[in-house]
Symmetry: C2
Subunit: 368 residues, 2 copies
């Protein structure tokens, strides 16, 4: 039973969340790939336990402070999937003495800094750019990749483990077929790269990331490890890409209605950019939207209302555009639910969640 | 002297900030309007003291929790400039017993709820919509305004004080003249409204808000109170509107450089949507930008580099597009500065700041 809310509150449907986790765990097991989920979406030791219950024991994080948080909750095989921040080398060194830590590098400066540090033994992955063009060595630049592998191989404290790729450009497509195409082209290019280079390591792993591909692809041939993150909650963006249905989305922001403007079919909520983030997507007609509207029920929330969305966000206000059927059943003081566009950012901002049975869930952001 | 940084850090130039505060205090004093600055931008008791040193003793906030934070730091005349959230009525009641609290309403439900609560005496302002179309009673709807004033006047615990307007549409224009036009049309319409309605209150105040108008307008005739907030730090959006110069911007996000891709004139920083927020503006050629690039110096930061901006943001990464002259002087491991598009959201996300002399400044977000 949903507890009484007083202000914008992130609601978690634990059953949907656990189903999302179980589905991905089973898929990885069936396909015989290592499952190393990214924990930056939930950032929560409680939700991490739900993964552990299904056998997960390797994880991915995006910062050394996130690695430290999960290490303090018993996780001891952690990849920091972010280009090494030299200014935090000391924190990496310290943590590498306590757990099995994997780092991701993409340049000689990071390799030299690791080698010069007091790290005893650390797993090093090369970040490869297979088309997203954010970070990484271009997948076709065999010479540069070979030079970096040599530089790693020369250092006794560094173990070259393989290639890490994040095909973030799957977030910009709007059909499962386009996602599949990106994934398959990327895996093919990584295989060619692996054949073209030599390493002292017996085995060169291929580790891939994004939730759209991991949700859409059924055949993981050629992949050794998967690192999706967002799938734990999903969101409206993933629904639009085709990676999930609305029914898979496990979080909604409960927001008080503070004003109703029937003449323009709008509701004003207490719930703004500091709660949802300013992430938007374009609806089918090109209108930017900042969230989809659901009704809160005793045990969760409804399907999204048609033609109903968050039209704009200020720091703490949101303007909801909806239809008379929805607006006529709402009064000032009621709460409505917003399905977030990007659940990672909303969860980070909200710092904690309430399960729809009333249980409180903290994240590493609750601690600061 | 700037301290050694290890990760994304919000830097504050206290001198610029104090000058921004002083300039607005002098302007309000010269124009004989009440100065009730909005504290949602900085959310900091330390920066609040800088206002107090210049004589400020009335403030505006955007939530009851922010009111409570500043009340606990000695502020005792606070307006919550947000449509009353009925679910937090108990917190309003409690606070109204401790300080002089002003609330903003725009509908009969809020007035009835206040009247039925145990509030002893509270100042009530009507939110008027003078063209922004977010919240408020339309400024031309004299009948509705008169009905709401009557409803307030009937309650012994409620004192009707006046009209509150926030012309947020000044944020969407890109020239000072357009800002002036919006302000003057709004004040004219509020005056007509004031002449058309009757209240038991002897005096009906006109309180206006936004930073673009308050920075641009020199003649505050017809206005009783001003409530700007963002001017304390300013940001790239205000520069683009014409409300400030780059030199007035008092905050910059210091970010580690983790990768350099010279072939595409890009730098990858540790600094993403969870640090800057995803607020963007369109540059003159229509490109969306998420921040402007400055070099960090021993005692602050440089002017923005030309043709240099944050091109895109992930959760923790930013991609900076720049020019060879800038990129050639940067190495992996260096820090660069980002002038935020929207300093309110960046400050909220960062939760704390470091003055360029090394002093640490907390906000109410540091406490949670």
């Amino acid at each position: 039973m949903l507890p009484k809310l007083t202000k914008p509150t992130l609601l978690l449907d634990a059953e949907k969340c656990r189903n999302n986790i179980r589905r991905m765990q089973l898929k990885a097991a069936a396909q015989k790939v290592v499952f190393r989920p990214h924990f930056k979406t939930h950032q929560s030791a409680t939700i991490a336990r739900w993964f552990a219950e299904g056998g997960t024991n390797k994880i991915t994080v995006s910062s050394v402070s996130m690695a430290r948080y999960f290490a303090s909750h018993g996780w001891n095989d952690i990849m920091v999937a972010f280009p090494l921040n030299l200014a935090e080398l000391h924190q990496f060194t310290k943590l590498s003495a306590e757990i099995r830590l994997s780092v991701v590098v993409e340049n000689i400066e990071a390799i030299r800094a690791l080698a010069a540090s007091t790290i005893r033994a650390i797993d090093v992955y090369l970040k490869i750019d297979a088309g997203y063009h954010r970070t990484g060595v271009p997948v076709e630049d065999y010479d540069q990749v070979q030079q970096l592998i040599h530089a790693i191989d020369e250092q006794p404290s560094l173990r070259f483990r393989g290639f890490v790729v994040h095909n973030g450009h799957t977030y910009h497509v709007r059909s499962p077929q386009e996602v599949l195409d990106i994934h398959h082209r990327s895996v093919e290019a990584l295989h060619k790269l692996r054949q073209a280079v030599r390493s002292k390591s017996g085995e060169v792993l291929i580790s891939v990331g994004d939730t759209p591909s991991m949700s859409t692809v059924d055949d993981f041939s050629g992949v050794d490890e998967i690192r999706p993150g967002n799938f734990v909650f999903y969101d409206v963006m993933q629904q639009q890409i085709g990676a999930c249905t609305y029914d898979n989305i496990a979080v909604a922001l409960g927001c008080p209605v503070v004003a109703i403007h029937k003449q323009r079919n709008e509701i004003i909520i207490y719930g703004g950019a500091i709660h949802l983030s300013k992430e938007s997507i374009n609806d089918t007609d090109g209108t930017p939207i900042y969230g989809k509207i659901v009704s809160l029920t005793g045990d969760g929330w409804s399907s999204p209302w048609p033609d109903s969305y968050v039209k704009s966000l200020s720091q703490e206000h949101g303007i909801v555009r909806s239809i008379p059927e929805m607006i006529n059943q709402i009064s000032v003081g009621d709460f409505i639910g917003i399905l977030p566009i990007h659940s990672c950012l909303t969860t980070h901002l909200m710092r904690e969640m309430i399960e729809i049975n009333g249980l409180h869930i903290t994240t590493m952001q609750s601690l600061k």
